[in-house]
């Protein structure tokens, strides 16, 4: 898909206007803290993975995605997944009242005392596979134009573009399939593209540059 989240190269979005680093708070409102923590804590229940979580935010209309603040998009994503997994009903969202108990057997909610350990451990996405690597550093590859209609980590500005494999990262869980609930390993590569290959000569503010991205083997074809 090319969703509203796929922003690389989009024009007309205005200036960045960064807040000064020394005075920017981590959160800008109490509700931002709560939705951030809720997303992590509910995610820990294992009812969906990170790619499904991303996809839930991306599935909004472009109008909504771009008009919402960052954590508002997190809120939309979390509610979408809670509904889809049957953990909360629409009626409950509407009324704010619990109508039905969720069976928590088999679910182990995150405990406050375990938070430091859980965060320090993280979750590696390295995953072994018998598949041989199809590419090696130095190879020229083209990013496939056809991508799934669901979640993909191929930015649209790179589709059909030719780059050079710079590094083989090993084998990682393939995000596009993981978003469908299928945990499969694929070879992951760091690929370099020239600004000229992506944008032609029309690079603003002068000077060519390079873009490095990480893509999985199914995203690539021999040039």
């Amino acid at each position: 898909m090319r969703g509203s989240h796929d922003l690389g190269g989009l024009e007309g979005l205005g200036s960045i206007s960064p807040e000064p680093e020394s005075s920017e708070p981590v959160f800008h409102a109490e509700w931002e803290k709560r939705i951030f923590a809720l997303t992590l804590a509910v995610g820990f229940l294992g009812q969906w993975n990170l790619d499904q979580s991303r996809h839930a935010r991306e599935r909004q209309t472009p109008k909504d995605y771009l008009r919402h603040s960052y954590y508002e998009n997190w809120c939309v994503g979390l509610k979408t997944l809670l509904l889809e997994k049957g953990l909360v009903s629409q009626n409950e969202f509407n009324t704010g009242k619990m109508m039905s108990h969720v069976s928590t057997s088999g679910l182990s909610p995150m405990q406050a005392k375990d938070v430091p350990t859980i965060l320090m451990q993280g979750g590696s996405v390295e995953m072994e596979t018998d598949k041989p690597a199809g590419f090696a550093p130095g190879d020229r590859v083209r990013v496939r134009k056809e991508v799934s209609s669901g979640h993909t980590r191929v930015p649209s500005y790179l589709r059909g573009r030719v780059g050079e494999i710079k590094r083989h990262h090993g084998t990682h869980v393939f995000a596009d399939r993981n978003a469908l609930g299928c945990r499969e390993a694929e070879h992951l590569y760091s690929i370099q593209f020239s600004s000229r290959e992506i944008w032609g000569d029309g690079v603003e503010s002068g000077g060519a540059f390079a873009v490095r991205v990480d893509l999985w083997e199914p995203h690539l074809e021999n040039q």
Partner: protein
Amino acid sequence: MTSDDHHSHDHTESPVDLALQVKALESLLVEKGLVSEETLDALIETYEHKVGPRNGAQVVAKAWAQPEFKEWLLKDANAAIASLGFTGRQGEHMRVVENSAKVHNLVVCTLCSCYPWPVLGLPPVWYKSAPYRARVVRDPRGVLVEFGTSLDDDVQIEIWDSTAEMRYLVLPERPVGTEDWPEEELANIVTRNSMIGVETVHVTEDGDNSGAKADS
């Protein structure tokens, strides 16, 4: 009320509505036994007060001060960073890229907001904003100007778009005049923005960027 007013009323959440909506959601999930308030507090506490860019600054300072650590960091960032105790969520697969007089690295996630949490904490608003994500892969020099950063024309810019679970930390160039500084003082001048790559590290006339006075 005009139809436009009505339209915006229907479709834009006011901050108050949002705060109430999130509060209601939290109550519901607590009542269902899916989360606890103490757990939420602990998560917030971690990223508001414990895990942040001072971690990354320690990594950078150590790399500046100890050539063998720098070599390790550039070769095996995961192990080198873990040796300082910074591991975990959104930093499981780290890579450090080095800035020099010839190469300037810059990190973005055009698709969402991927960012190395264990070393930098949660990303600033601008990093997650649509304008930054859209522009930096097309007009990096223009973006750098917004941060007050201008590079010589012959500096090669490399932009790292975090499209998978690899997370990138920029090792900024060490400013001249800091040769004799101890690690702690070096860490004080390393900014978050320099480790994302939108700024370079400077030593200001009255000491450093953080206000902590350096002796040298």
